[in-house]
């Protein structure tokens, strides 16, 4: 009897825990899924049925996708070029940010370059000013360099915005690498560059993947700077092109959503591809802690 009661109390406790989790989980799930559901719903609805308010279209179609891929609408004239631009810019920003911030973090954390920490703190200080406030000065600066309308202007601007955070994250991560590894490598005859290439980089892979993905997605999702710095239809990114859909009174919502859905797929793919690299524990076995 008493054992029975105990089991029942336990069950009640488990149920209440479960209930609390559900109470948090369900809203979060809805919060995330409803916009995506809407996007999917619009993208498989024919034009006139898009805003019908039904939970599932009467005649679902993939026609919108064909429409987008074949660039059959005024707003979509440069779809493939713009998708290409987005990719090119995002990948360039990811790669450049990685190069800059890895080198900086290595110099600050491992080579202990004099004044390195000050530089990092100054760089982080830029985050006190919202990026939006810096848009106009950045526009002027790029104008001074004659880079307006060149995709380089957006790449450089995004690298500038992404780098301080990336340097900081990488510096924190590399501070955790055992210092004896550097000393062992130096005694083994490694130069600073060899130390960087043969010991530092392989051990930083998880952080590099995380930081690279961050910079890449930041550039992929960027709207404001892309809108300001680029203006030719054939050179803007898809994010800007999506914004342009709203310029007209009767926007083709189903095409906007279809394009948006397509635009959202690469980040999801990137995230799931690289997730498994973002594991810790790569340095296990280096030193006894």
């Amino acid at each position: 009897m008493s054992a029975n009661a105990k089991r029942r109390r336990l069950t009640w406790k488990m149920v209440s825990t479960e209930a609390k989790l559900l109470l948090i989980g369900i809203p979060v799930f809805l919060w995330t899924m409803i916009p995506i559901y809407h996007m999917v719903l619009f993208s498989i609805s024919p034009r006139n049925a898009a805003t019908s308010g039904r939970l599932w279209p009467k005649e679902p179609t993939l026609g919108n996708f064909a429409f987008v891929f074949q660039q059959k609408h005024f707003y979509l004239d440069h779809f493939w070029a713009q998708l290409g631009n987005s990719l090119l810019i995002a990948i360039s920003v990811g790669a450049l940010t990685l190069a800059v911030s890895t080198a900086a973090a290595f110099a600050i954390s491992r080579l202990k370059v004099r004044g390195g920490r000050t530089v990092m703190n100054l760089a982080l200080f830029t985050y006190f000013i919202p990026a939006a406030f810096l848009a106009v000065p950045m526009y002027k600066t790029m104008g001074n360099y004659g880079l307006l309308n060149s995709q380089w202007s957006l790449i450089l601007a995004m690298v500038t915005i992404a780098s301080p955070y990336c340097i900081w994250v990488l510096k924190q991560a590399s501070d955790k690498l055992p210092w004896e590894l550097d000393e062992a490598a130096r005694m083994d005859g490694a130069t600073a560059m060899q130390l960087f290439r043969l010991v530092y980089l392989p051990l930083m892979v998880p952080s590099l993947v995380a930081v690279g993905t961050y910079a890449l997605l930041l550039a992929w999702n960027e709207y404001l700077y892309a809108f300001l710095l680029l203006s030719k239809d054939s050179s803007v990114t898809l994010a800007v092109a999506l914004g342009n859909f709203l310029a007209a009174d009767d926007s083709p919502w189903e095409l906007l959503m279809t394009t948006g859905l397509i635009y959202a797929l690469p980040p999801a793919a990137i995230y799931y591809t690289f997730k498994r690299y973002m594991v810790s524990g790569l340095t296990a076995g280096a030193v006894k802690s």
């Binding site: 000393e183 490598a185 005694m187 083994d188 005859g189 490694a190 051990l203 790569l282 030193v287 006894k288």
Partner: protein
């Protein structure tokens, strides 16, 4: 093989001076152990020899060539770290071959060196494993293998056994000693464990607060400690030391401490009435069966099997005595002590230097 020479080595971190002019020479093929309590500067001295720490003053020479301004990699030395410092992303083989790879040695030579080192250290079956797949002792052996492969002029060991459990430590101690006997490479070994120092060293350098207290073979340090610090640091359990006054009357000499007369040999450097420390090792005291000698009260009896350790009280002081075999002595018994008079040590109270 090579000689190493330290000349007036000084080291400061900022305004804090931690090594105050150390000089000594290490002969070819010698196994020298730097030993001392934490913070005595032994690791710093080793790191200066390794080139990991700049030298504030003085000169370090390897084979009579001053190496102060040479990079670590150009000093032809290999170091084994306390924490092993294995490259976690490389296999055992790659860890060991790393230095040769950096030197662009040809692969035949690299292979034969790695195979040879692996054979010496019984690492053959582990060559393709990663450090994380190895036990502590195996990692330590890989770290040694990495040093052997280099075939350097000097091996440096920085507390290499501190991270191992007690049993493994004893085994690795013997392994390192055997390795040295086989390779005969000049070795500098840092430890805070005086047993390690005693068992492994050809010569021991005892350091304390940034100076060298004494240099000598293990048994020299044990038998004739040059000062009170060395006397108490070397030996386990450590030497019994009593504060007393030296008396010399009618060609007889003894130390008066705790109201008793403690026997000593005749000294040439002492004066009647001189304040001294009187030292005698726990193994140099025996219990007298005749009821003569200094009376002491037994406080604790600690049998360890082959030996029995007694904690005794004489006046206000406590003494440790190590007896061979077993004893029927019980706490609160009174025993009488016989002291091996030729194995007593007397140190001046003020200077703490040995008096002969």
């Amino acid at each position: 093989m090579a000689t190493v020479s330290f000349q007036n080595i000084e080291k400061s971190f900022g305004k804090t001076k931690i090594i105050h002019g150390i000089s000594f020479d290490i002969a070819e093929g010698e196994f020298v152990v730097l030993v001392g309590p934490s913070g005595c500067g032994k690791s710093t001295l080793l790191r200066m020899l390794a080139g990991l720490e700049p030298i504030t003053g003085g000169e370090i020479a390897i084979d009579n060539k001053v190496i102060n301004d040479l990079d670590s990699k150009d000093r032809d030395i290999a170091m084994v770290f306390q924490s092993y410092a294995l490259y976690p992303h490389m296999t055992v083989r790659d860890n060991m071959a790393f230095s040769l790879k950096l030197r662009k040695a040809d692969s035949g030579l690299t292979n034969s060196r790695v195979t040879n080192a692996a054979r010496i250290l019984n690492l053959d079956p582990l060559l393709d494993r990663f450090p994380r797949e190895l036990s502590g002792g195996q990692r330590q052996r890989v770290a040694m293998g990495r040093a052997i492969v280099r075939d350097p002029k000097v091996f440096l060991f920085d507390e290499p056994l501190s991270n191992l459990d007690a049993k493994l430590r004893v085994a690795m101690r013997a392994e390192i000693k055997a390795l040295h006997q086989r390779l005969k490479t000049t070795t500098v070994y840092v430890t805070h464990d005086q047993i390690e120092a005693m068992t492994m060293a050809d010569r021991i350098v005892v350091m304390h607060d940034g100076i060298v207290e004494q240099i000598g073979t293990p048994l020299e340090l044990f038998d004739r400690p040059g000062n009170l610090f060395v006397a108490q640091f070397i030996g386990s359990p450590s030497m019994n030391v009593l504060k007393g006054t030296l008396r010399r009357v009618d060609g007889r000499e003894w130390v008066e401490a705790e109201g008793r007369q403690w026997p000593t040999l005749i000294h040439t450097q002492t004066l009647d009435g001189q304040a001294v420390h009187y030292g005698v090792r726990p193994t140099d005291i025996t219990l007298s069966s005749s009821g003569t000698g200094i009376a002491a009260k037994v406080i604790v009896v600690e049998p360890t099997g082959a030996e029995t350790e007694l904690l005794l009280e004489v006046g206000g002081a406590q003494l440790v005595v190590v007896m061979h075999g077993r004893t029927s002595v019980r706490p609160d018994d009174t025993v009488h002590l016989e002291i091996a008079v030729d194995k007593t040590h007397v140190f001046d109270r003020a200077s703490e230097q040995r008096l002969d």
